[in-house]
Amino acid sequence: MSTNATSPASGKMARRQYEPYLNASWGVKNYWFPALFSHELAEDEVKGVTIAGVPILLRRVDGRVHALRDQCLHRGVTMSVRPKCFSKDTLTCWYHGFTYDLETGKLKTIVGAPDDPMIGNARIQVFPAQEKAGIIFVFVGDDGYEPVPNLADDLPVLLPDDYEFRSPHLLDDNIVVMGLHRTGNSNWRLAVENGFDPGHQIMHRDAQVILSQNLAFPLGLNPTSPEAITTYGEDGEGPVGIMNEWHSGHYDLVMHNDELDLHPFGTGSVLGLRTSMFLPGVLMVENWPKRGLTQLEWYVPVDGNRHEYWEVILAVCPTEADLKKFKYEYDNLWLPIALHDFNDDDLFAREQMERFYSVDGGVGWDDEQLCGMDAVITGWRKLVSRHNRGIQTPQNHPSPRLD
């Protein structure tokens, strides 16, 4: 059998350009990642999350969120599984009583050994944390990384107000964020690449959100000139990312496949629908699921095989009535048909790719055969390879110890 696909050897050479990305199976580091919704962490509550393999304990005290490494120095247990706090400014490990300062992570005392020389001389990592628009963000990466970048640098680009078809942004006034997060059983990169893959319209052909709005969703979107794709942040300023300018006229909209006699049934279009992907892996879909809304998705690496899939919808709601209407539509429309029906298919697709690309012996990164529709994916891989703040090393058996 003969094939037009590239030989494995030449594929390998081409891939070296984005070798750092191929090594980023556990994610990139030194970025702000969403950890929980604000409403998921009540006053005085303690919860554990895992981001890029790093176990992180979150505790809210007097409204403020503290984030510490969720792995005791002493014998490595996960502290959040049995939270113990004897004062507002400390956290005590439930096993042998190692007690850490919430602010600095320093070992402040050991319940039953208050004179141990280790006290004051050891600490666990603390992570910067902040809340924005109802989401708790944690800066995950190297101990002491500084200066800590602004959250805005790790969100999709904030387009100027008069940018064509601009839609709501997380940093806008009166922004309201509704959504969910769930765990996907695939590597985070497969999730990212699915998120803004301009080639998978066919998979969404029968989606409720398409049919119910009578949309003429094209069969394909193929970039026809360099202007089809805009990259951001290559000059070292602001977020680093890549945007499909679908409204730009530099895409070939495939509306008919003659061979199969296929075409979309709907007739409407979503004006200003545009997708972009930014480091550390956050998708912005402008004017989706309808004109004037924005959908954001994060694919937060949990480990080499799983990601936390965040799907939220943004609306600007200056009045109570706007808020009420958005909530109503979210609960009854966007949650079931956009965040579930439509995105369930995406989650399904990523999990279907996982075996081919698995960190445990998958050959996909070497043997995939990308075609014309995939230019933006290659662009993304190269962008991450050049402009990351660090590649996370696999965290299979990491130490909590700090020097």
Binding site: R16, M118, D142, Y145, G236, R386
Partner: protein, 346 residues
């Protein structure tokens, strides 16, 4: 001040000043001798050593993690050991532990051998699975079929598991130069290492690498280490020259590094004039023309003794602290009788 002598299994002794009443581990660490330790409270036994002379006491109020039989044999925990005067302690490991990973000797195997340029070859070895090294370190190897030993820096990245790459200048008259042309995959080759303390500076801030010819070898894994290590990225300058354009090698690897590291300023030159070369000219030191950069950076120089010396002299003229310069020099195998070894200066 009393005197603390630390003896290691490789016969080396290191000496540190110690005040009467001070803890042995603290004095060693203060002198920059990185003895093995962990808890510093007498419970993990990592810091065990044997007092062979001198009067000592132990820190009161601790139950040391030692068996009575060990105590009877003179074993003590350095973190809990107080000097009452001059003391000599034997440690159960080699002095290289305090610098980097322990050297070992193993049987290697040739995986590949090919020319990279008119004068430089690449020899790829398959190491023992447990082999590990610090970027910048070198290996000694016995040229197969001869009794000559040669030393070469490791030019592959630390995470390139299962292969060690060496870049070798081919000297027609040398034992290795002669071997390169007949090397075959599968050849057995005896290897010792890793050795050397030409390691990446841990200072935060700009870094300069000055590489002459195969002096590029150890710089390549150091570049990868720099790229992958934690913390904010800083500017990096790599100046690399060979004498003729046809001697230059691994330019594709350098271009990839330049692509992956937007803050890498790559300067490639040739030092002897040839008509067809359109790039930079000069030895690698001359390629670093901005003196403010030298003054601000951690400097790593690797190449001929002349290059290393010239770098040191130029830095001295600029009143740059010599401690900011790390160097490794190569001696070509044909000019050497016996076993050449890269000489490392701290």
């Amino acid at each position: 001040m009393a005197r603390l002598d630390l003896r290691f299994t490789d016969g080396a002794t290191m000496t540190a000043p110690i005040a009467v009443g001070d803890v042995v581990l603290d004095a060693a660490l203060a002198a920059g001798i990185n003895l093995a330790h962990q808890c510093r409270s007498g419970s993990c036994a990592t810091c065990v050593g044997k007092v062979v002379s001198g009067e000592t006491e132990t820190v009161a109020g601790r139950a040391p993690a030692l068996l009575s039989s060990e105590i009877a044999a003179g074993m003590r925990l350095c973190c809990s050991l107080i000097a009452c005067g001059d003391v000599t302690v034997e440690l159960p490991y080699a002095s290289t532990f305090t610098l980097a990973d322990q050297a070992s000797s193993t049987a290697g195997e040739v995986l590949e051998c090919l020319p990279l340029s008119a004068s430089v070859w690449k020899l790829v070895l398959k190491p023992d699975p447990s082999f590990d090294f610090q970027p910048g370190q070198y290996l000694r190897l016995q040229v197969p079929g001869t009794d000559a030993w040669r030393s070469y820096s490791i030019a592959s990245s630390r995470d390139a598991t299962g292969r060690i790459e060496l870049v070798i200048k081919k000297h027609p008259g040398g034992a290795m130069g002669e071997y390169l042309t007949r090397a075959r995959p599968g050849d057995a080759i005896d290897v010792e290492g890793p050795f050397g303390a030409f390691l990446l500076s841990q200072a935060k801030g700009p870094t300069v690498f000055i590489a002459g010819g195969t002096g590029l070898g150890p710089i390549l894994p150091m570049l990868d280490q720099l790229r992958l290590r934690g913390g904010r990225a800083h500017p990096v300058t790599l100046a690399f020259s060979c004498s003729q354009a046809e001697d230059l090698f691994l330019l594709d690897e350098l271009e990839l590094r330049e692509y992956w590291m937007p803050l890498l300023d790559l300067r490639v030159g040739v030092s002897r004039s040839t008509a067809e070369w359109e790039g930079l000219r000069g030895n690698p030191l001359a390629l670093v023309d901005d003196e403010s950069l030298l003054a601000a950076a951690a400097i790593h120089v690797c190449g001929s003794p002349g290059l290393v010396e010239a770098t040191r002299q130029r830095c001295a003229r600029l009143a740059i602290d010599p401690a900011k310069i790390r160097s490794e020099q190569f001696i070509p195998e044909v000019t050497l009788a016996g076993h050449p070894t890269p000489e490392t200066m701290p």
